[in-house]
């Protein structure tokens, strides 16, 4: 499991990429990815193309990011989920809180 992040050229969008299992062990890495930023970011992409699995504490981490990014006004896209992850997000009806692609 690892978390990496990159800013878009205009520094408006942050892409956070998850590799492997997304669970409690990624807690501090995931937070660091968006908290330790100088730039003011408008939107976030959580790139799940390399993620194999996500558990309920990962859902909690996504909620923390959402809160940090402005709650109901946040603009977060969870992208490229595999079927298992899509299903977990769907059961929790997280499509009402995030854009899921």
């Amino acid at each position: 499991m690892s978390v990496s992040s990159s800013l878009s050229a205009d520094e408006k969008e942050l892409r956070i990429s998850i590799e492997g299992r997304f669970d409690f062990s990624s807690h501090s890495e995931f937070r660091k990815a968006y908290e330790d930023l100088d730039a003011r970011v408008d939107s976030y992409i959580v790139d799940m193309s390399g993620a194999s699995y996500l558990d309920s504490s990962a859902l909690g981490m996504l909620l923390l990011l959402r809160d940090y990014a402005g709650g109901d006004d946040s603009n977060i896209c969870i992208a490229d989920c595999n079927d298992d992850i899509k299903k977990i997000l769907a059961i929790s009806n997280f499509e009402q809180l995030f854009t899921i692609k």
């Binding site: 981490m61 909620l63 009806n93």
Partner: protein
């Protein structure tokens, strides 16, 4: 309360400075002893001496040196024997023992080590080697001591943690797995939790006799997961007892958990409200995998899908309390589970999964064995492991109202106490009708008469039936015959919701007349709605045999009340209860 010591506060144990120590020299040769003592004192050590094995033990006992230098061959008791005794005396404390020896043979050196020596120092002494060895051993003893004090601290912390968890778990078990889970028509298995797994199962009966069941799964494990169970259970039981509706309870639970839990902790849950009297079940599922309604009639399995965001995430403005409504028949079975059963993993890292779970239903031939078969299939799948920590399953079987019994509390209050002679008139107009449930409040007023508390459930049932009739058939003009077919059943509840939202006119007036006596009482409930009523005269005396009006639950009302009378155009109903000498 003692102040907790954090592991990070651990430091190197006091007592030994890095390279000087208290050293015992035991040697029967005065010259050798003196020589060694001089070298050691020069190097800054403190020295105590002995001239044979016995004395060495005595001096060790009193002076408690950090390092022992023992001549192998001494009178009375030799170094080998003394070493063993000193080891015993030292106990858990690591005291390096170094043999002083002029013996050269491998055998005798091995004997030194076998006797419990840590090293040996050949005579004549080389002061550089001596210092190097002492420094190394003193450092080692110091590390040993640090390690031991850290270990002791960790053991103490762990003991305290276990103690606290045990107490918390006892409280948690009482709160989280409580209510009427022991009713005859409920089966449940909750994993024997060594630690908290965050699963909560609650079941209770409302004043009108509905059974409400909740299975919840908090994010995380351990205390953080358990902590939310307390307010959840409290809200559930206290609101249920007061007769609040499923929607009100869902809202209140969500709001409470939203207010108190950290952002990343939430509760996936399914809540079912089963009305045995009217054969209706309402289900709200937020974040749990598909639960199941099993139809006894044709063995179909109806998935109860998660339609909502779990409890504790949304604020009350955006919380969605809409429910799915199902008609239920006697012996239908409701199965609730958390994702633990899907995620139970065997030694090949395979998960049990939804397919295997639903496979049990496909292969089943005797519905009453479903619950056991699910547990067996899971145990077979996990084979070498006991059922993993997280598996919670609840089964509820639908029964006829008469068969659903829970323990009743004893008779409350003296008959004469409380308000004895009063009337209440309460009129509800459209804006109130569309979004307020007056029944909990009205029940609350009625049970101010302590005597009436004993009949709270029955009165609430009657009140609920009469009010529902007035609202649904009177004000909203819904036709109960719609409910006869499954499609119509859904349509009925959709229409109800729609008409409530758009309600512009209509009213319901509720009246209570209570008169208590010394040994009895008389309560009249009169409900009048603004609707068209129905032709009650045509069916008078034969109402309970008429299918069309069975939707009004008149049979049930007749069985509870002393009399039920309709008047006006069928839009006024009068129910009376008589007790004791008023009968």
């Amino acid at each position: 309360m003692e102040t907790p010591v954090l592991v990070s506060e651990l430091s190197v144990a006091d007592g030994l400075s890095v390279s000087t120590a208290k050293i015992l020299i035991a040697d029967d040769s005065n010259t050798d002893r003196l020589l060694l003592k001089t070298i050691l004192i020069k190097q800054g050590h403190e020295v105590v001496v002995a001239s044979d094995g016995h004395e060495a033990i005595e001096v060790f006992r009193e002076a408690r040196p950090d390092v022992v230098l023992l001549d192998a061959l001494m009178p009375k008791m030799d170094g080998f024997e003394a070493a063993e005794k000193i080891r015993q005396l030292a106990g858990e404390v690591f005291v390096p023992i170094i043999f002083l020896t002029s013996l050269q043979s491998t055998d005798s050196l091995v004997r030194c080590l076998d006797a419990g020596g840590d090293d040996f120092l050949p005579k004549p002494y080389n002061s550089v080697i001596l210092q190097a060895k002492l420094t190394a051993f003193i450092r080692m003893a110091e590390m040993h001591r640090t390690m031991q004090s850290q270990r002791d601290l960790i053991v103490a912390h762990n003991d305290r943690l276990l103690r606290e968890q045990e107490i918390a778990k006892r409280v948690f078990d009482k709160v989280a797995h409580s209510g009427c889970l022991d009713a005859d028509n409920i089966q449940y298995s909750l994993s024997p939790i060594a630690i908290f797994n965050g699963d909560v199962a609650l079941a209770g009966v409302s004043p009108s006799g509905n059974l409400m069941v909740l299975l919840g799964d908090f994010t995380g494990h351990g205390l953080d997961a358990a902590i939310g169970a307390m307010p959840l259970a409290q809200t559930f039981y206290s609101m249920l007892e007061k007769g609040f509706s499923l929607q009100d309870i869902l809202r209140e639970i969500n709001e409470k958990l939203h207010d108190i839990l950290p952002i990343d902790v939430f509760c996936c849950a399914v809540v079912a409200d089963i009305d045995f009297n009217n054969s209706v079940m309402q289900v709200w599922n937020g974040g749990l995998p598909d639960c199941v309604l099993y139809r006894a009639l044709d063995s179909t399995v109806i998935p109860l899908k998660s339609q909502h965001i779990p409890f504790g995430i949304r604020d009350s403005d955006s919380f969605d309390d809409s429910v799915d409504t199902f008609e239920i028949q006697v012996d239908d079975r409701l199965f609730l589970w958390s994702d633990g059963i899907h995620e139970a993993t065997n030694s090949d890292s395979e998960m049990f999964g939804e397919e295997r779970l639903f496979g049990v239903f496909e292969e089943n031939t005797k519905p009453e064995q479903l619950f056991d078969e699910i547990n067996e299939a899971l145990a077979d799948f996990l084979s070498d492991k006991t059922i993993s920590d997280d598996v919670s399953i609840v089964e509820v079987r639908a029964v006829s109202p008469g068969d659903f019994r829970t323990s009743q509390s004893g008779f409350i209050g003296s008959k004469q106490a409380g308000p004895r002679d009063w009337t209440l008139k309460y009129e509800l107009r459209p804006e109130t009708l569309s979004n307020f449930d007056p029944l909990p409040m009205l029940l609350h007023i009625l049970i101010q008469v302590p005597y009436l508390r004993n009949f709270g459930g029955q009165i609430f049932t009657v009140l609920t039936e009469l009010y529902t009739n007035a609202l649904e058939h009177g004000v909203l003009q819904l036709d109960s015959s719609l409910k006869d077919s499954p499609v119509g059943f859904d349509e009925y509840y959709q229409l109800r919701e729609q008409r409530l939202l758009q309600l512009q006119e209509g009213a319901i007036e509720i009246q209570f007349h209570y008169k208590g006596t010394d040994n009895g009482g008389n309560l009249k409930i009169i409900i009048e709605d603004s609707g068209d009523g129905f032709d009650y005269k045509q069916f008078d005396g034969d109402l309970h045999n008429n299918v069309r009006y069975s939707g009004r639950g008149i049979n049930l009302l007749r069985s509870i009340c002393d009399s039920i009378e309709y008047s006006g155009r069928g839009n006024i109903v009068r129910a009376s209860f008589l007790w004791g000498d008023s009968q």
